[in-house]
């Protein structure tokens, strides 16, 4: 038997005031894979990511990160036990998330953004954390930007600081929420290069996006989500070439038809 998937989501369900945002979601992401999660706005993609970091508590279902249950676990005898805050916080560094708006901390320099969580959460000595921060930022091409505060950085640079901040925790899995949407369209290629380089290191990634081209050129597998359900999931090539699900076919047609409009004018609100 091979190792457990890096991420296993089963039967995940989330309701907001009676509206079902996630409807029995099942998803496995294996080590080294890049999975792109696509779907129309409001389909539950971002909600899924928020549940995977436990910023949103799913109403039902289970999440396993590198074989360990997150948030809720099934005990022998079928009893479901909720984990306490400490248990959840202990597992959180394992799931790195890069938010759509990055959410860097503006009162700290780029380097401090990367160093502080290591010292606070992992208890790393400061000089070791600093060494790791410099190494990561250098690798991401920010060697000459480390002493700047976030507002003195461009969007692409901010994103790379956010990536470094998450990577410094040595996560098993990286989540990206719409990595192209907060940036200028011409930067899409740059983001793609960064994520590809990350993939080259064997990092496992789940990328939420509604840019089909981006998903197709980056991902090993694509999952299509609509109305809170994953309707189709498979190798990227198969999904793009021969979508089986009619709604996915529709979605792909629509997005391909006016790709430019979609990428430049739609601001996702979910």
């Amino acid at each position: 038997m091979s190792a457990p998937p890096v991420l296993r989501v089963s039967n995940l369900t989330k309701r907001f005031h009676g509206v079902t945002a996630l409807d029995k979601v099942y998803l496995d992401v294996h080590a080294g894979q890049i999975v792109a999660l696509i779907g129309p706005s409001g389909c539950g993609k971002s909600t899924l990511l928020r549940c995977l970091t436990w910023l949103e508590q799913p109403d039902d279902g289970f999440i396993e990160v590198a074989g360990k249950p997150l948030g809720r676990e099934l005990m022998p005898g079928g009893v479901v036990r909720r984990q306490n805050r400490r248990q959840i916080d202990a597992l959180r560094p394992q799931v790195g998330i890069v938010f759509q708006q990055f959410h860097l901390w503006p009162h700290m320099t780029a380097l401090e953004n990367v160093v502080r969580p290591q010292t606070v959460v992992l208890g790393r000595p400061r000089d070791e954390a600093t060494r790791r921060g410099i190494e990561l930022l250098t690798r991401l091409g920010l060697a000459d930007r480390m002493d700047r505060h976030p507002h003195a950085l461009s969007g692409g640079q901010k994103q790379r600081v956010a990536i470094a901040r998450a990577l410094a925790m040595d996560p098993a899995l990286m989540l990206f929420d719409e990595p192209t949407s907060a940036l200028d369209p011409e930067l899409v290629g740059e983001v793609l290069a960064v994520l590809r380089a990350l993939a080259g290191t064997g990092m496992t990634m789940l990328v939420v996006t509604h840019e089909i081209g981006f998903a197709a050129s980056l991902a090993d597998r694509i999952a299509f989500m609509d109305h809170g359900r994953i309707l189709e999931e498979g190798p990227a090539r198969d999904i793009m070439a021969a979508p089986k699900e009619p709604r996915l076919r529709n979605f792909l047609d629509l997005v391909r038809a006016d790709h430019r409009i979609v990428t430049t004018t739609v601001t996702p609100t979910e």
Binding site: T53, L55, R85, R86, D89, A90, R92, P93, V95, G96, I97, F99, Q101, H103, L104, W105, P106, H107, R116, P117, V120, V121, L122, R148, H149, H151, A152, R165, A166, M169
Partner: protein, 239 residues
């Protein structure tokens, strides 16, 4: 009748003692009230209905009752429960209680004004709620807290005059004593008004300095953008 400040000559040490106590009481109430206020604000932000309800009751109770009544309830309520404490201590505590409700609202509003993503990104990376508050939220709201807190502190300092009604020998109490001895109320209260004014100026100035100090840390961050770097910096730098 004519204005005769000479009547105050014999009594100025008494007024000075009163002013000193007013200042001490105000500073003590500021510290106690702020600590309580921060605690109440943090509890108010704990998810769930109970923390919000409890802190809401606390804040609304203290805000909706005149300070003099809060003072009387505490001052006469404690002996009722068998606790006897010096009036100055009781008065300071009541003043701190009163101010804490407003400080709590100031702190809570400042925290809520910060984009949620700041706290969430700290939590998602594994920081505990308290660590996230300390490392991420607190440094960012510090400056915004100063002006409203100063207002409240000035109000609270002036409200401390009410403590005279439970025999705390602060400035107003002493002025009543002096006035009774000299039968020159106008001169006495004019002098006392100036002393209160002076204390307020001292507090306001202290707050201005604090704001500048806290602001300097943040302004340093702001001035470090690329354009500002080039045009505002006095240090010659390579291009």
């Amino acid at each position: 009748m004519h204005f005769d400040p000479a009547v105050l000559v014999d009594y100025w040490p008494l007024l000075l003692q009163g002013a000193w106590l007013t200042l001490q009481v105000s500073v003590a109430a500021l510290v106690m009230g702020y600590v309580a206020g921060i605690a109440v604000a943090l509890i108010a932000l704990v998810p769930g209905w109970l923390p919000g309800l409890v802190t809401g009751c606390y804040v609304e109770t203290l805000r909706n009752i005149p300070f003099i009544i809060i003072l009387f309830v505490v001052y006469y309520g404690l002996p009722f429960c068998g606790i006897r404490l010096p009036a100055t201590l009781v008065g300071t505590t009541a003043l701190a209680l009163f101010a804490s409700a407003y400080y709590a609202e100031i702190v809570r509003a400042a925290i809520l004004a910060l984009p949620r993503g700041q706290f969430e990104s700290a939590r998602a990376i594994g920081m505990s709620p308290m660590s996230a508050m300390w490392h991420v939220v607190a440094p960012q709201i510090l400056r915004a807290l100063v002006p409203p807190s100063t207002n409240m502190t000035l109000t609270m300092m002036k409200e401390s005059s009410v403590l005279s009604s439970i025999t705390v020998p602060e400035l107003t109490y002493q002025s009543l004593v002096v006035q009774g001895n000299t039968f020159a109320p106008f001169e006495v209260f004019a002098a006392v008004a100036s002393i209160y004014w002076l204390i307020a100026v001292v507090i306001a100035e202290a707050s201005r300095r604090l704001e500048r100090r806290v602001g300097a840390v943040q302004a340093e961050a702001v001035s470090r953008n690329r354009i500002a770097d080039r045009y505002l910096s006095l240090v010659a730098r390579r291009t």
